[in-house]
Symmetry: C2
Subunit: 358 residues, 2 copies
């Protein structure tokens, strides 16, 4: 073996949900929004000329940072933007998780957290959710090198009691607590941790444009925290790649933030479809966890997760199935349009009828 092979960073990469090239598929497997982004976005992108392609983009993404800062009522020095929340979280892990102690997160949560830890040689411990798939706050009141909580959690869809979350943040003033709010826009108001930022200097809130803003394709995520913490993340970012965001992302993202009425109305539609679909699935014998997101996590009382997953896939409906012990029988189903959910329900009914015949 060549010596260079001894020094390779060997990793087991994250496997994202399938992105089939067949467009004739009902795609409920990667939590994309079924509705298009604000029409302002495409207009902003198409109004950019070649000059913005030829020149380096603004390395500080000022326009987008300012739009987000204004939207959330914080200073521009408190916002960090990156290539999707994955880039933002990756940078946060690199910047802050350099202790010998374990970083803590749930056993059932966004499956990228352990992947970053493995890749970046960060010690970590996965803490089992309780039997109702909820986070027990006491589990996070132990020595640690950092805490990451997806809230609402994925793939469960469950949101934490805010006071419990506050207790975790307070008990860990010596640690960075990252709250990954990728799905928070689909939750009831007042659940976000953003209003806690002024009180706790160890808190970082992470958001994405991929779900509620219908912009998975543009790749935009951001973090809000103190100016001090944002500067530390930016320093690492500028030590990796000065120009991560191109002008199309900066302009398109800013246009999305400017169109709040559209944003709210699309979220409302998704939430309504979620509530209706939940009832229909329950009527068909599914147990559906209470969702504060744009997906539902459900298992049938008779048929295995694998079987439903395969059946739906054969019928060109893609949902997400995790081959992981505790959640083998669950499916994570993205909320699509009403028509897409009708197709899903119809397909499941056919399967149930077939099984009843046997």
């Amino acid at each position: 073996m060549k010596n260079w092979k001894e020094n390779v960073r060997r990793v087991v990469p994250y496997v994202p949900g399938e992105q089939p090239k067949d467009t004739n598929i009902i795609k409920l497997n990667t939590n994309e929004n079924p509705y298009p982004p604000s029409p302002f976005v495409l207009k902003a992108i198409n109004s950019l000329g070649n000059e913005s392609n030829r020149r380096y983009p603004d390395p500080t993404s000022d326009k987008l940072v300012k739009a987000l800062a204004d939207f959330h009522g914080v200073g521009s020095d408190r916002v960090f933007v990156g290539v999707g929340s994955d880039d933002v979280l990756g940078m946060i892990f690199m910047t802050f998780f350099n202790s010998e102690k374990d970083v803590l997160f749930a056993d059932v949560t966004y499956s990228f957290y352990p992947v970053w830890c493995e890749m970046l040689r960060i010690n970590y411990r996965e803490i089992p959710l309780d039997d109702d798939f909820k986070i027990r706050k006491e589990d996070y009141m132990v020595e640690n090198g950092g805490i990451v909580i997806a809230n609402p959690n994925a793939p469960t869809g469950i949101i934490m009691n805010k006071n419990d979350l506050i207790d975790i943040i307070e008990a860990n003033s010596d640690s960075i607590v990252v709250v990954d709010e990728a799905y928070i826009d689909f939750a009831r108001e007042g659940q976000s941790c953003l209003d806690l930022l002024d009180k706790y200097d160890n808190l970082i809130v992470v958001r994405t444009f991929s779900k509620s803003r219908s912009l998975a394709g543009l790749r935009i995520g951001y973090a809000i925290s103190s100016a001090e913490i944002i500067k530390l993340i930016n320093d690492v970012k500028y030590s990796y790649n000065s120009y991560t965001m191109n002008s199309l992302q900066i302009e398109g993202g800013s246009a999305s933030v400017s169109d709040n009425d559209y944003f709210r109305s699309m979220i409302k539609k998704v939430v309504e479809t979620r509530e209706r679909t939940t009832k229909e699935l329950e009527a068909l014998g599914f147990e559906v966890l209470p969702s504060s997101t744009n997906f539902i996590f459900a298992k049938h009382n008779k048929i295995s997760g694998t079987e439903i997953f395969e059946y739906l896939k054969d019928n060109k409906i893609y949902v997400r199935h995790f081959n992981q012990e505790r959640i083998m029988d669950y499916l994570r189903i993205t909320i699509g349009t009403d028509e897409e959910m009708d197709s899903l329900i119809r397909s499941i009914k056919v399967l149930l009828d077939k099984k009843a015949d046997i």
Copy 2:
């Protein structure tokens, strides 16, 4: 001090060349191409609809990878694409530079190399160029944890003798040798290392769309190597961010690669302007290093680099000046349009006249 502050990855970030927002500036400081990209690029970007914004992009960037593979006559499994060559190089450093031994590169070269090493805790040694700012191959025939050579080098613009480079690659079969060919398209043909890839399994060639393809704004870079090496880089990439490239980059980049005639003709224009500008600067008392790039590295025989830099900046002409010992008196001047270079020469003449009067 809060404990979390003890575990912060503290870095001294790379400082990119200024990106002034004032559009009334002749910008010769970041090696952008003065000519627009192929018209196919904007057409491709503007033909994308909202569906490509709403959905996650293709995580493997198949279309762009295939376009580059075909362009260079290699298999698709031998091409890695990233968010500019900075992302590509950063991933390569993370993937392969994990030895205790020093990674080697020149003292005067792309200033991001030591920044990545500091950030990623990689041991490294900067090896002085010789008195003519050239790489001495013997210096790289010592124990090392990897080698990085910008060829042509920046900010000197000088290209290595290819046989010397081959000797380095051959002498280091136990190390990964990265040849950063960001500027190679402006060099004479036959100088690239791409044709060595089939012979040496320790070689990685890195390229960018930011210079010769006039697409600094889109953020596209790539690496070509063996299928084995590309897979290892991809594994690390998928452990950091599955979706780094958005559809606009994938489509715009592919469109650029498809328009080879345009590409060649723009390069020809830049090279002609470079040769003419070199002669004019020499006539004004500058020593100009032999450039194989889209910039020239020059120092005046009487006036300091800082003085010329400041004077030009006051006159709204931005060039690059490095506050670094050996190259303090040099300026790195990007080749702009003929009109821009005429303005530069005129401005320098005024300064020289002023100095002569004193």
